[in-house]
């Protein structure tokens, strides 16, 4: 299985920030870069929807509310090279870097905190990775390795939502320990 279109969602603590506040933040990011981001899509009117999406050619960054759980969703779109582990760690790192950037935004400082103890990995391609046990077993060693590095421990669980095979392939890595995004990023440097 050659993974592409890897998505990573990092959940936030209790949402204190109105969803629409992220619109201004993302527009600020657009102004601060040079043509990387294409647009901001506002789905704040939807319940448990895609939230606010910062669209780019390479990867979207969104404040996603799927399952009524807010988090930063980093959606890799362009094709990646390297091993599956390399791709997974690259996308995870990008997601965490965006979390850190958001935490440091002046308008959000003190109001936004990411829960480092849970990360959801999705593969947005049902052809490559259907949401099946077989696919999970095939991918599991890489995710397991990634989780060990991410949390510097074996005290974590991998859980696939197997109730609905229509969903995209997904695995949630959880640990009872608590982590800050900065620590997680440092841990990932080892890969």
């Amino acid at each position: 299985m050659e993974l592409q279109k890897i998505n990573v969602k990092v959940f936030t603590a209790e949402p204190k920030v109105p969803l629409t506040d992220f619109i201004d933040v993302f527009h600020g990011w657009i102004q601060a870069t040079d043509g990387v981001y294409l647009d901001v899509a506002d789905y704040s009117h939807m319940q448990a929807g895609p939230g606010i999406v910062l669209v780019a050619d390479d990867a979207n960054v969104s404040i996603d509310e799927t399952d009524n759980r807010r988090g930063l969703l980093y959606s890799q779109k362009s094709k990646m090279s390297g091993s599956n582990l390399e791709k997974l760690s690259t996308v995870l790192r990008s997601a965490l870097e965006n979390c850190q950037r958001l935490e440091q935004e002046p308008a959000l400082r003190g109001k936004l905190r990411f829960l480092g103890n849970q990360v959801e990995i999705l593969v947005n391609d049902r052809l490559v990775a259907p949401n099946t046990g077989e696919a999970f077993e095939e991918i599991r060693p890489e995710i397991d390795f990634l989780a060990r590095r991410l949390y510097s421990t074996t005290n974590f669980t991998l859980l696939r939502n197997q109730q609905d095979t229509r969903l995209r392939f997904n695995v949630t890595i959880s640990t009872p320990l608590s982590f800050e995004t900065k620590t997680l990023l440092n841990n990932l440097q080892a890969i």
Binding site: D42, Q47, P50, R166, R168
Partner: protein, 764 residues
């Protein structure tokens, strides 16, 4: 684990062969465009006719509020004039009469996740749209749709668009008869029909089961049919009041009555005849006047009718005209459960309010249709999957999208409604606001549309929020008003037929651009879009919510007993309302409050710098150009066959590509040229070869002779080795190049027989 399968391989057996072939062809056309072998305008119209539309910023630049940024997108390939290949676009998917089943909902959900931004958007013409789609993903997207019986073919471009129909058709208490089978037949018959391929603009068709209700919006369509019956020789006969030449746009036209009773068997032939007249006489150059409404206005309805009826007489009988008629009386849908009335069962919190606004008692006892209101027409993938589950639990394949951007579930046993309500409420879709002032309709506007001036969705979102909070306190007379918002004057949000309509405009205030909305009052959604509203004046975008409150409060205070909003607007007159809104036209200076100088949900200082050239009008591409492009595609296919080790098939396909190019040239002079090979060759020979119009200045008739020799060779059935096939492919390429040259010369009017002395000189 399947590792190497593509979607094409994986679902090959699920796709209807014809649809699969069409998508293969489009994929080849994409490849040819990347190689620069299809003209950008031809490709633009080609992709539009597959539902692939441009989107804001696809020219590769965007104003970020301070400056215009050049977007980091590869700029070496374009998919249309000033449209970058890699820029995300919109994909429109046709849903004829809005009909969907659970399996289709599931696939739509999957595709929105994998190829768009996770949202399926219901349009004001019952389509589904995705945004932020990469064109490279569209063949797989189309194949997965085809596998569940959906096509995006002719969802955009200068063709017959989605055929819409009243979502209550078949269950409506007031309908004359169920128009569903007719809408379905019309949609199938005109899809890809040769007579609908050469329009100057789009052509929209709608069906309604009755005159008085709004659902079909017949009179704002290019062609609209309202169900009628008539007693002939003691027997009830079905037919339609047929209307033509309606349309919104910047200047709305109400459709004119073409025939007060068109017998059902004449519906399709007359549609075909109308298409032929429109294709032949409709404006092609001036796109602003190319809709059929302008042709009818110019000719007059009587002359137009005369021309259509004359055209009808010329048509050879087509068995498809009446193939659907034997089954139109059969009920097309079945309920899942027996119809049982509500009868005092337990009612969850919020149920009664929802029941009052979102349900409709069907004519079939014990059954109810329920509207699931989608905020701004948007549904997430999870919501669509949940709706598919809900459909399987309560109904069968009886789901329809509506022109008010919602989804209607039909054939729910009334006793199931409390459970149905719980289920939709659990996914955030239980709002009690269908057909109310809160359920605001809006086109995409500046969110994604290249033509958008102001943020229609931003305004609609704000109005939904503000009015939703007040909905319980709103006067009943106000509660049922409709608000519709368009981002520009082109009326995709259908503002002309709303009680309170808005369309986006720009106004200069002390040197600053300020988003405004033109206020249109008194349009009539009922009576099939019975009246268009009156423009009142421009109000700054950020003051529109106040304007809505001001207008509605004034209406409640000043209306006569039971006076409808339309009558109220016309009675008090434009001046009085304008005076009412006068204070709201003013905004603080820029240095006092900059909020008024940006749009809803968009902190950037307002500018028109991002507006582009819309693709609503498509590209006017002649049939000759399309056919020449098709010849290129066939030659490409020949190369693939050769690469696959099939030289004989490659040779035959290369020859076919030459015949196709010859047909393209003939089409430039005779659009009615048949598909018959011998006739094409005869016409090509007499029109282009013998007249030397096709001759090259230096090569003379050599390229045409390649085709003639290829015909002999293929006809002789000789063995074809790879070398001979390669030669044939090269000759076919030269022939097609020569056909393009000849067509270009014909277009600019310089084609003439070449002088033979030049041939003699080069030969010497």
């Amino acid at each position: 684990m399947e590792k190497s399968l593509t979607w094409k391989e994986k679902i090959a057996e699920k796709m209807p062969a014809e649809l699969a072939r069409e998508i293969d062809i489009f994929e080849q056309q994409m490849e040819l465009r990347k190689q620069g072998k299809i003209d950008e305008k031809v490709f633009a119209e080609t992709r539009l006719r597959r539902g692939i539309y441009g989107q804001r910023y696809d020219n590769g630049q965007r104003h970020d509020g301070n400056r215009i940024q050049k977007l980091k997108l590869p700029a070496d390939v374009i998919k249309g004039p000033d449209t970058l290949w890699d820029a995300p676009g919109m994909m429109r998917i046709k849903i004829p009469f809005g009909g969907l089943n659970p399996e289709q909902l599931e696939v739509l959900a999957e595709l929105s996740e994998e190829y768009a931004d996770g949202v399926s958007h219901v349009t004001t013409r019952q389509d589904i749209q995705y945004h932020f789609v990469h064109i490279d993903d569209t063949p797989s997207l189309m194949r997965r749709l085809a596998a569940v019986g959906i096509t995006s073919r002719e969802a955009c471009g200068n063709v017959v668009r989605n055929v819409t129909a009243c979502p209550l058709a078949g269950i409506c208490r007031d309908e004359t008869f169920d128009t569903t089978p007719y809408a379905k037949a019309c949609s199938r018959f005109l899809l890809g029909h040769p007579d609908t391929q050469d329009f100057g603009r789009k052509f929209k068709i709608a069906f309604s089961g009755c005159q008085q209700h709004p659902c079909g919006l017949v009179t704002m369509h290019d062609m609209g049919a309202i169900a009628k019956t008539r007693v002939v020789d003691g027997k009830e006969k079905r037919g339609f009041a047929l209307y033509v030449g309606g349309g919104l746009g910047s200047v709305p036209y109400k459709a004119k009555l073409f025939d007060e009773f068109l017998p059902e068997e004449e519906l399709l032939p007359i549609s075909q005849a109308i298409s032929r007249v429109f294709a032949r006489l409709g404006e092609k150059r001036n796109r602003a006047r190319a809709r059929v409404k302008f042709l009818i206005a110019n000719l007059g309805i009587d002359e137009f009718r005369k021309l259509v009826l004359a055209e009808r007489q010329k048509l050879a009988n087509d068995p498809r005209w009446t193939a659907h008629l034997p089954s139109v009386n059969e009920q097309t849908e079945e309920p899942l459960k027996a119809g049982v009335s509500l009868n005092g069962g337990e009612r969850p919190d919020g149920f009664d309010a929802w029941y009052a606004t979102n349900t409709y008692k069907q004519k079939q006892p014990g059954y109810v249709a329920a509207t699931v209101t989608l905020p701004l027409g948007d549904a997430s993938a999870d919501q669509l999957r949940a709706l598919a589950d809900i459909a399987r639990r309560f109904v069968k394949d009886t789901i329809r999208t509506t022109v008010e951007q919602n989804i209607l579930f039909r054939w729910i046993s009334e006793a199931d409604l409390p459970e149905f309500y719980r289920a939709i409420k659990a996914i955030g879709l239980g709002a009690p606001d269908a057909a109310t002032i809160v359920d605001v309709t809006a086109c995409p506007g500046t969110d994604t549309c290249k033509l958008g001036i102001a943020s229609s969705r931003g305004l609609a979102r704000e109005l939904r929020y503000q009015l939703g909070e007040k909905s319980l306190q709103l006067d009943e007379a106000v509660k049922n008003l409709r608000i519709k918002v368009s981002g520009c004057f082109n009326s995709c949000g259908q503002h002309h037929i709303a009680d309170i309509g808005f369309y986006g405009i720009n106004r200069n205030v002390k040197g600053f651009q300020v988003p405004h909305f033109q206020v249109i009052l008194g349009g009539k959604f009922h009576d099939n879009a019975g009246e268009y509203g009156v423009p009142i004046g421009a109000v700054p975008s950020k003051r529109i919510p106040e304007a809505v409150l001001s207008i509605t409060e004034y209406y409640v205070r000043k209306r006569l007993k039971d006076e409808r909003f339309q009558d109220f607007v016309r009675r008090i007159g434009k001046k009085e309302i304008k005076d009412l809104l006068e204070d709201l036209t003013k905004i603080p200076d820029h240095d006092v409050d900059r909020a008024y100088y940006s749009d809803w949900g968009d902190p950037r200082e307002f500018t028109l710098a991002d507006m582009g050239i819309g693709e609503c009008a498509g590209e006017v591409v002649s049939q000759a150009e399309f056919t020449l492009a098709a010849s290129e595609r066939e030659l490409f296919e020949a190369q693939l066959l050769l690469d696959a080790g099939r030289p004989r098939d490659a040779a035959k396909t290369a020859y076919a590509s030459m015949v196709r190019a010859a047909q393209g040239l003939v089409k430039a002079q005779d659009p009615g040229i048949s598909e018959d090979e011998n006739q094409i060759l005869a016409e090509f020979t007499s029109r282009f070869y013998e007249t030397q119009l096709f001759w090259d200045k230096y090569a003379g008739g050599k390229f045409a002779e390649y085709m003639f020799k290829a015909k002999e060779f293929i006809g002789a059935g000789k063995a074809v080795d790879a070398d001979r096939a390669v030669q044939l492919l090269q000759e076919a390429q030269l022939f097609i190049d020569a056909a393009h040259d000849c067509h270009n010369k014909l277009r600019v009017g310089v084609a003439s027989a070449v002088k033979l002395d030049s041939i003699a000189q080069t030969s010497a």
